[in-house]
Point group: C2
Chain length 436, copies 2
Amino acid sequence: MRTVEEHLESVLAAIEPVAEEVLPLDQVHGLVLTRDVVSDVDLPRFANSAMDGYAVRATEIADITPEHPRSVPVLGDIAAGDGARHTHREGSVWRIMTGAPIPEGADAVVRVEDTDGRPREVLISHAPEAGENVRPAGDDVRAGDVILRRGTRVGATQLAILASAGVAEVAVTGPVRVVVLSTGDELVPLGEPVGPGQIHDSNGPMLVALIRAAGGTVVHTGHLPDDEKVIKKTLDHHLRDADLVITSGGVSKGGSYDAVKAVLTGTGSMEFAEVGMQPGKPQGFGLLGKRRVPLFTLPGNPVSVLVSFEVFVRPALARLAGRRHTPVTVPAVVQQGWSSPEGRQQYHRVRLTRDAAGTYAAAPVGGAGSHLVGGLAMADGLAVVPAEITQVATGAEVPVLPLRPVEEIEADLAASTDRDTTAASSGQPPSVRGSW
Amino acid sequence: MRTVEEHLESVLAAIEPVAEEVLPLDQVHGLVLTRDVVSDVDLPRFANSAMDGYAVRATEIADITPEHPRSVPVLGDIAAGDGARHTHREGSVWRIMTGAPIPEGADAVVRVEDTDGRPREVLISHAPEAGENVRPAGDDVRAGDVILRRGTRVGATQLAILASAGVAEVAVTGPVRVVVLSTGDELVPLGEPVGPGQIHDSNGPMLVALIRAAGGTVVHTGHLPDDEKVIKKTLDHHLRDADLVITSGGVSKGGSYDAVKAVLTGTGSMEFAEVGMQPGKPQGFGLLGKRRVPLFTLPGNPVSVLVSFEVFVRPALARLAGRRHTPVTVPAVVQQGWSSPEGRQQYHRVRLTRDAAGTYAAAPVGGAGSHLVGGLAMADGLAVVPAEITQVATGAEVPVLPLRPVEEIEADLAASTDRDTTAASSGQPPSVRGSW
């Protein structure tokens, strides 16, 4: 039996990021740049006004003070977006709006608040320094500057700078196209009636949601019957296009009806391993077909599927996407102890609360069976219990891998302890030092 | 000038969750349930085997021990999904697969590992307790049980239990349909050429990404010229369908060319306020039209837009979606101090690193101007400086609002300090107690 760490290492060692694609900006949110992005232009593109006001030549009105304001003629208005060429004329000013180009020969902007705001002749009561309220061309970025490094994940602010620089498309590690297949003759897709001995497929919808939230693109979700020929044909079909295939079910120990295992054994680099973890012991992984597509065979129980996803599939998805996944846990004090199998790292579903001191407390939920989905939906996270621990003591501290963003857990805790809007409406976000 | 807290309170007090909708499961990921969900069925739906093995009546083989195994006849196979009715016959067993229905009259399953695994006559070497390796019907959920409470946000595990219970559609607070409009004659959409005095719109793409990541549905993104008639017509059009309208630009202090402000002043409950914050001082918010649609007018600078989004729009989006947003900050030590304006709460862009003790260090990035997008894309978070502080000292501790998931920041820190795969491949996720 290999350790979780050994299995994860062998999975990550086998896979590489998917191919580079050049995509328009509206398709790259969440993807990783494969090349440095260089700006072709200065940003700002041209010297422009930081304020609504009057564009002046600073030396010409250096004598002005609040006590000795002076009127000067206004040549006209320059609006943002005005494409005409405007030139400063000695002794006069242009009225100018935020973002509008500074007229040639002017070098400062008097804010409208430091004038009487008139359009033809304006009374100015402040003498600006040269450069005041002017955003020089290239102040932010110079043409030729690298604005984003390869390896950067494109988020909202990265989109802002790319758009500012007029970069309409970028080279990225392509979207990871994932196929999800639930196995077993007992499974019925949601919306269809369930006959005797049958159940609705819950792993498919869960995996689709997990993959999407992790940045993957689900290109197909379907069902594999317990028929080796059909399984083989279906897999061959998907290996032509997919970047990752995930099956659940069909790989239990007995084997007589483990059709997926039967089909895959001996193909590609497929390995079926026992991993020292609970749940999720039977893990299958390999590269299949000409395109060497990574394929995970996950166990069939929903809790095992979830844990296997968090521990192996999520890091693999990140690697396929050209990223690196670093799991981050929060410490919690065990509210009520539980036992853990010797020699297997346990991932125990827990619900988090906060004690008076602000420390998380973890209460086990959902029972021991990995078929129990009722408690799974109550769990905020997975307590990670090392293989050598067989009894988790009440009061012990355990690391908990959150199953949803900590902000969401915090919002629910705030809602349950405090029904007014104080916490939600605080402009000072609560700091969480020492509590998670 | 009102405080950030006052403004946020007035915004949140004005808005309510959008209308309830009944939607199929594949459309509710991330939405909030408006009603308790009750299961119509037991889960498991029927008693089934937890293992591949042989279904027995425990009392009949109680004499078996590893030292005294015994052969019994096998009546046949029961596969998962087998819809036929099977009945136990005294002295014999059924071979049974994981998830298959327990035959009537049997009460335990002997694991295949405790047998010789034969199909016609099987040698059994372990006497199970009654109930061993059997998942009783209703063990997880009973028909009539509330499986999910109203107010629950639907994530992957919630989808799993809904699907298990055969719930094909649920009542949720509907998707929040957001319209994003960038204002100003100087703006050119990405992909079109930029003429003199013009710039590409960067706020639109940034807001779209922020809204989507926050769970909103962007139904339209467009442009408002500095023409009051066109602005009025465009807004009237969107107020018919949208749940939230966000404009950026067109609201600066001067006002002569602030077409958005000119159109909106005096309409609905629209208020233009100065908020004690930097950046983001000029904030407009109100409910407009018959449907009383919330509308934010954000400043035009990208940094102001980002900060306004984090401080006001994100909590408003959560409230429209029936959720509550609780901002969570991480503490960081200031690497190099900066100044902050008196009487305004400052949100300063910082990049995070880790010192040897595992504490975050925050270095300011991107300069003081709120038009500077170059540094914005480098920022990991916003340091929050209270209004009464005018100088942030080197070495001081500040709360930092992350601009991306902490897991991502951690992954980048791990990648930059450690080029091998140790951290990525660790089965024991690093705990972050006391460091964030």
